[in-house]
Symmetry: D2
Subunit: 354 residues, 4 copies
């Protein structure tokens, strides 16, 4: 039950620690006969890659995906797609100084409590490096989804919020700035703030918003596997995520039913969309939208006092090259997890009617 | 993949429409040899039952659980626990007036899109009546969990928020008022407001907070099945839920890492608990706490204009006895889903070490 | 992981002990919009029912199925189909004499070793009574399968074998004799032999053969979930089964490849069918056929010496009304399990191609 | 539902075609803290490897396993164990001559029917090369099982049967001859016969018997996931398998209950063991034993007439280096699948009691 798989029909299983030989995964259940553009997969990986801009970690990781199976003459064959991404950094460092140290708000302590042993080099399996495998699979899931559009962007950094409705945004702006915020002015402010935080050796949180357009009606399962429940789980499984809301979200709790109900147009679309494109756990064809909360990265470039595995107080000093704010690099990960959920439900739905 | 099951080892599968013969379920994987108090199960069901106070729906549903298997001489036998709850109302009404009508912000339209057919009597499978089965299973899960305490309460109704930290609350107050808010003064205000909303034929949303104490360390699985990801999915699977946050939640995104990191005490506990009792997806022994957002109930006692299955505009008038605010009755459901998640991870964890 | 569910998309979960209130189950994943003939389900149940002929157990169990959900106006709705079958015998006896006795070649000893507790009344969960729930689900699975024909019959009783190839048999004979053997002369011999064995207070084993015709090509999954692997598991999960072979089976091991290979006709059918309708785990459109081995029933109407839970030798005397030979009543169970496997793969296959 | 995973807690997922870059897999759920001897894994792989003796295929495949994750300082960490085995032959040949040809009794035709596309180089995913990944995982499963002994050997080749009870055999003989039959005289006969068959350009089938000793009591799940049902599925999932029987098997169907029942000794062991170590689907601590039927390999070194994808008759001539008899190399695969089943149930069983 080790929880390294995601999805029921379109299913990803991942492996790999940040400082082992390689990370990678197996995508099982990709339907046969789909043309797969592996260059697009690498492009998505590059959007997650360290070192892509001045405001993310400057680690050198080429993150090149190698496909080992499941593709033949440019198409999926219906058999499992195995892939690996080599770890560049694996032998470069001495980790003895953190071997027994529990970093605050990391998974070091809980892994030791759960397993009794731990690969202490750079976070091991709890490292966000694992999400590179999700981007590979998510990028293929997008190709399964064809006309469905999944767009994610940074909607806040610390207290700086993008205060426009998503319908007013120009999504083509997203990739034009290193923050991945679709409003150039807000993006510039956010970038300045991230640099300020980094200069303090500190980190800051933020939110990512995601919009899914052109969703077929009828996706999602009633009761436990509601579409938004699985989207929520998918997002909450990303490192550093503390919250998820869709449609009217937490603000909607303050409204009355008479304000909140989405009135129908005659074609089945709705005049408003506080439901967020999902009713009773099933897509209704309107835009799905949701927001994901990321806490500030726990690794600081400051001295901190903590404990070791013997319960002794020790000082630790962050070293290396870390992200001052995780949300810009989280954008492709959010998209990927959304794509995995949608592709899986699209395939599941094929057997819902006679 | 119809999504009527929850859990991997301690696993609940439910069935039943609101106006069929009965609802019920099967609990598979309850360990053998556990003393089961079936009266406690009925008590938990009574907390969810309609008609328990002046501010909830006045429908008459006795909601008596009957156990059919899996218990013998007061103990679980390790075999599946089958149970049913009869539907009292099943033949009492004429539903022809809503047969072809799509109620706004309900699941009528999406069920028709997904399945092509629909049991149109009172919500069918999408009715919150299904959650009674969850309470039965959750109540048994609590007995599996023994010393783990799960406490849920209403933390807001519309814009009325309980503005105290959970550590300052007296949980013994919760069941003393019909709102299930642990602060008597706030509860009284909330009750007044719910009555006002009801008098308008309207409804209002709210939030439920849940605290889990005495959690064993090491529960939860890294990567996709993080403890909070599964808790999030569990909560988002409850009818009318729009959001979930745990620990510092959405507020935490505004903080810097240096404020947000939880410093260790020498015994492995932490001085603060912004992590919400979970690090890297695994429990660290501190209190787990989270908040769940419920939208206002979509069924109004007002006239609304909507469409029917032919795309024609029709008027509809809410009839019957509905909840003006869902959160008081949602409290035992939130507890139950939390118990299901925790019991399942407790059992899963038994095989994580040699 | 308690193993009370079968199937991935068309999924049956069962509950119930032989002497509890009721047995029953939930069928999840039946596609919506299917006309369900519930009388056919009862007819299949009647074929498994005790007391139907002179050569089976004379217990009185009406075995009436009650459907609780998932059907509406004669059709499946895509929601779970819950059902129960009341136990007629539940309070009729005193079981104190077998409470601590381990019957030879039964599951009493192993249940006690596994669970520490046991419902000792008449076999509890290990009773073949559980298979009635499989017949309910299998009968609905047959309706999902439409034109696929599943025909099972008794192919041997003890050393008496039906020595005709299945292509020479008249299947309309099967239900005309109590043994369910399609050859009248052999059936008469078998019946005589079963009566003789019963007169001795003894029991005897036998085999059931099953033929599946009109199977769509492409069902089954390569590698672990080969169609015949899942059929084998399904059959081996039936009480008293000791073996399974399909196509050429154990005899095929003695052949050379040049004799065993099935040559193609131009239309893709094959001149011979030693493959048994499955190649590489996937159906090829030819008849699927297999044989299932049932051991003699362990409950004898003779005195036996055995042990109790304290390890003391005790005498036991079979009482009541038991089957001298299980295969006639096993026929509808074999059919049902085959139907469950096929229906599940039919639905799974919908997502194998783009 | 593509069926490339096996197991519930100790779970193997495999990928890879015979002529792609590599095959491999992910083992998820190996408990943490287990010392893993990777050299033993390579030794088991060598027992399956082509070219190990004169009577198996002479293909050159070094079959070296590389572990990519999940092991640290000689121990399992509880995280997924990823591994690959490079394909040596991947670019060495021209396959255009078989591109559109459907080989008799192979999976070419059914793969095309199922998926519409196919990696036609040397069997692709349907190649028995995939079983190398099972041996890697099975070898680690054996290390999880510690004192449990799993011994497989060849019990027949064509009509040549080893006619001794397994209790009379000297298992240390198994690896001393290329046939892997524990009786030297019978092995010599079998070897002679295999060479004769090969000289004819033909192939022959056979059986493998497997004995499992020192099995803890209580493994297996009642109802659908009986221990022998899962063993049966595991064996039937191996390429070329046509049948499975355990304990008294098909012979047991001819017996009377009074002969077949295993009488207890006072310590709970049984005087005979026709039950094959399993009662009611659960291990009773006695030896588990079963037999697996393998058909003759379908690839012949003879000319055969067959069809192509256009339905035209074509001649084909077997080329290359193929096994005249699959059973000697199947021995470690049978052991591996048995180990996967047992390890999984061992871990599952941890949550069966309170």
């Amino acid at each position: 039950m080790s929880g390294n798989s995601f999805g029921k029909i379109f299913k990803l299983t991942t492996f790999g620690e940040s400082h082992g030989v390689a990370i990678g995964g197996i995508i099982d259940g990709c339907p046969a006969g789909l043309e797969i553009d592996t260059e697009k997969v690498q492009e998505d990986l590059n959007r997650r890659r360290p070192g892509q801009s001045a405001i993310v970690t400057q680690r050198k990781e080429p993150d090149t995906v190698e496909f080992l199976s499941g593709l033949f003459e440019g198409k999926s064959t219906g058999t499992p797609i195995g892939f690996t991404i080599k770890n560049a950094n694996q032998k470069s460092k001495d980790y003895s100084h953190i071997k027994d140290t529990y970093r605050p708000s990391h998974a070091d302590y809980t892994y030791d409590e759960k397993y009794g042993v731990r690969d202490y080099r750079g976070g091991g399996r709890s490292s966000a490096r694992e999400t590179a495998s999700r981007v590979v699979a998510g990028s293929i899931a997008k190709q399964v989804l064809k006309d469905v559009q999944i767009i994610a962007f940074v909607s806040s950094v610390g207290k700086l919020e993008l205060d426009k409705d998503f319908s007013e945004l120009d999504y083509s702006e997203i990739e034009k700035n290193p923050v991945r915020c679709p409003d150039a002015a807000t993006a510039a402010e956010m970038e300045r703030y991230i640099k300020e935080v980094r200069a303090d050796g500190d980190t800051v949180g933020g939110t990512v918003q995601c919009i899914i357009q052109n969703v077929p009606k009828g996706l999602g399962e009633p009761v436990f596997d509601k579409l938004h429940a699985e989207l929520g789980k998918a997002m909450l499984s990303i490192n550093a995520v503390k919250g998820f809301e869709y449609g009217s979200g937490f603000e909607g709790t303050k409204m009355r039913g008479s304000e909140h109900n989405d009135q129908f147009n005659k074609d089945g679309s709705t005049k408003t969309n506080l439901s967020g494109g999902i009713q009773g756990g099933i897509s209704n064809g309107m835009d799905i939208y949701f927001k994901v909360a990321f806490k500030p990265v726990a690794t600081l470039m400051q001295k901190q006092t903590t404990i070791n595995s013997k319960g002794e107080e020790v000082d630790m000093q962050g070293k290396g090259r870390h992200d001052p704010c995780v949300v810009p690099r989280a954008v492709p990960i959010v998209e990927s997890m959304a794509a995995l959920v949608l592709a899986d439900y699209l395939l599941q739905n094929k057997s819902s009617k006679i």
